[in-house]
């Protein structure tokens, strides 16, 4: 994407680490999210079993994904809705554009949708002369500031209220107090007009229930409700993996989703929509369209990133990730930040797009621990690194280092020798107990890494001494 094309991941990360406000904002926000999440789960003992159940449901759905999608399609059509199938991002954009054209749409109101971000839908609509209003407050701020979201559920987490007040002042051409209450009121007024005028509402989908043809939206602000109640056309865009079998499955997910995301028991609004408005209704869309999108997902059904398809997009893995907590969302340089974002970027754009990002993890396992569906992100990251190595996408000094290391580990005699030899060789490079940079070919590799030096005495040497002392 635009930023990642012009800068490298290490550059973006370095910039983020130097940004004092960002550091403070990230620390406060992620700590708050993590604490709320932990508290609410502690008070909900059945949560652990529900997480196991939810994980099973996701796996079971993927095993029969074709069946559930057929069922979903049949039911949406039976209710009077239209279902479209998009293999690529381009197809998804094309479908939505043609729905907009057929309905002579001038203004679109959008609910928060990562899938729409993923396909750069706003740009496509605007390019076609259609005005788009983001309606999630965070997304709206980001849109006015011409930026990208930096967190899955808190898109404007990186901005201060003063910065946000400035953005509004510029848009509204008058002074705005740096007070969340004031800014929220202003946004309510501005967006309310748009909701009432808009011809088309676009939303994502947190879930789609196959057996009933229901699309489920979870929001706190109520914009999801607006988008599905007021405009005459509603388009929901979802990745194929979001389908679930039944209402019974839905309540399993609802019980852990908000708890994982924000530490709420339930989000303020869970909206279940079945097709367009029914004959007896005064409001609701006259037309309903569901766009089922592949965009790199389907080939992972039998691929190494299959488990990433369980993701509920709750954001919990971002909040606990020591890397995300330091660098924030923008440094990742793509739609999906954080640990799951690395895997999603690999899924959407191929392994080449994550040759640096694949290492933006300490493999500490905190993400897998909090993930409501227990996705083993570290396992997939390790496998991704192996792939990068095998496909020779990884930088070659790194490949040389690890190959050499592997050889040493496989040959005890060589390994014994390696201790004293490395101690001799590292001597010029150790500063304050760390190796901070190496010369020549390894300079780039150590530019962003410190290494512990080889110890004055290795474990084997000390063991030998202890044996002799006995």
């Amino acid at each position: 994407m635009s930023e990642s094309a012009s800068t490298s991941f290490p550059q973006r990360a370095a910039r983020a680490i130097k940004d004092e406000f960002l550091q403070q904002a990230l620390a406060i926000a992620t700590t708050r999210f993590v604490n709320s999440r932990n508290e609410v789960f502690q008070a909900f003992p059945q949560g652990e079993a529900l997480r196991d159940r939810a994980r099973q449901i996701k796996e079971a759905v993927l095993q029969r994904l074709d069946h559930y999608l057929e069922q979903l399609t049949d039911n949406v059509e039976r209710l009077g809705g239209h279902v479209h199938f998009a293999t690529t991002a381009e197809e998804a954009r094309g479908i939505i554009l043609s729905i907009a054209r057929e309905n002579r749409v001038e203004l679109v109101v959008k609910g928060k949708s990562m899938a729409a971000e993923e396909i750069d839908l706003n740009e496509a609509l605007e390019h076609a002369g259609i005005r788009v209003a983001e309606t999630d407050l965070g997304e709206y701020i980001i849109q006015l500031a011409h930026e990208k979201p930096s967190h899955i559920i808190a898109p404007a987490i990186h901005k201060t209220k003063a910065q946000i007040a400035d953005v509004f002042a510029k848009e509204l051409r008058h002074q705005v107090a740096a007070d969340p209450e004031v800014i929220t009121r202003l946004a309510r007024g501005a967006l309310r007009d748009k909701f009432l005028q808009a011809d088309m509402g676009i939303s994502g989908a947190n879930f789609a229930v196959a057996s009933t043809g229901t699309v489920v939206l979870v929001t706190n602000e109520g914009n999801g409700r607006m988008v599905t109640s007021l405009p005459r056309v509603h388009v929901a865009l979802m990745g194929v993996e979001k389908v679930i079998p039944s209402m019974t499955d839905l309540v399993v997910f609802l019980q852990i989703l908000a708890r994982s995301a924000t530490g709420q028991k339930l989000s303020a609004y869970t909206t279940l929509v079945r097709g367009p408005r029914q004959a007896a209704e005064l409001d609701g869309p006259q037309e309903f369209h569901l766009v089922l999108m592949d965009n790199g997902r389907v080939k992972q059904l039998a691929g190494p990133l299959r488990e990433a398809l369980y993701c509920l997009r709750c954001g919990a893995c971002l909040n606990v990730c020591p890397v995300y907590r330091q660098i924030g969302g923008h440094a990742y340089g793509d739609t999906y930040p954080g640990p799951i974002g690395i895997l999603m970027t690999a899924m959407l754009r191929g392994n080449g797009a994550v040759k640096d990002l694949a290492h933006a993890s300490s493999l500490c396992g905190a993400c897998a621990e909090v993930c409501p569906v227990r996705i083993d992100i570290p396992r997939m990251l390790i496998e991704l690194r192996e792939h990068l190595d095998r496909e020779k996408i990884a930088p070659w000094p790194e490949r040389v280092i690890f190959k050499t290391y592997a050889r040493l580990l496989g040959r005890p005699a060589l390994y014994r020798l390696a201790g004293p030899v490395s101690r001799l060789m590292q001597r010029p490079f150790v500063r304050q107990g760390r190796i901070r940079s190496l010369p020549l070919l390894f300079r780039k590799w150590t530019a962003t890494r410190d290494l512990p030096p080889v110890a004055p005495r290795t474990f084997r040497e000390r063991w030998g001494e202890l044996e002799r002392e006995r």
Partner: protein, 241 residues
């Protein structure tokens, strides 16, 4: 765009390439949802006082305002008080059939401009007029089809005489319900959802079900909790004992 057969066909081929990561099953649905709901109701017949207390506790924790009245005909007085305290007077409400009582007259006696929503199908100009009225109204009065004690949640089915916007556009949402719609847990709400969808034509005349857990809220600016960003900034629950 890809044709359905081609799209699903590709997914079928990919799914058949792998047995998956581990053997897994989906959640087990109630075999007879109506009977399952009946069982829940029987439990509640004795436990409803505890359940409504729990509801109140959770609802108030979300900044909801809880009221109890003995009878439906006392609802207008509560709405009147809410309106006077907030210096507002424009009220929209669900139709008499949807609410189970005609509140229009009572609300007018409270000095409120009350507009009940129509039960029948109306023409485009009338629909537009009602939409403008709804957008201008300060208070929206609805029923509730489900109240979940564990989370302080109200669920509303849209349909005839029960527009989606009545609980959405006004600044203050007032929901009226009694013990018949009360359940204790989200899991039980799942059973009710299964029952509704087992006979959708009978139980739902509209296309949307909304679960409402407190007022509209956001924390998008420096994580400061702010209410009423798009939907109502206050939610009131009136329980008819």
């Amino acid at each position: 765009m890809t044709a359905r057969a081609e799209f699903i066909g590709r997914i079928r081929r990919e799914t058949s390439k792998t047995p998956g990561l581990f053997p897994a099953t989906v959640a087990e649905r109630p075999a007879d949802p109506a009977a399952a709901v009946e069982r829940v109701r029987r439990q509640l017949a004795e436990r409803w006082p505890q359940a409504i207390r729990r509801f109140q506790e959770e609802f108030e924790r979300l900044a909801g305002v809880f009221h109890v009245v003995p009878r439906m005909d006392q609802v207008p007085a509560v709405v009147g008080r809410i309106a006077r305290e907030r210096s507002v007077r424009r009220v929209i409400c669900w139709s008499a059939a949807a609410l189970g009582a005609d509140l229009g007259e009572g609300l007018r006696q409270e000095g409120l401009d009350a507009v009940p929503m129509p039960d029948g199908i109306v023409g485009e100009p009338e629909a537009r007029r009602l939409r403008e009225l709804s957008a201008a109204a300060e208070i929206g009065v609805t029923g509730a089809d489900l109240a979940i004690a564990e989370t302080g949640t109200l669920a509303l089915i849209s349909g005839r005489g029960r527009p989606r916007s009545t609980s959405l556009l006004p600044e203050y949402h007032v929901a009226v319900f009694d013990r018949r719609v009360l359940v204790e847990t989200v899991e039980q709400a799942g059973v009710v959802l299964e029952a509704w969808h087992a006979e959708p034509a009978r139980s739902m005349s509209g296309g949307a079900i909304t679960f409402i857990t407190g007022p509209s809220r956001t924390a998008d600016i420096e994580l400061t909790l702010t209410r009423g960003v798009h939907g109502p900034r206050e939610v009131h629950a009136i329980f008819i004992e």
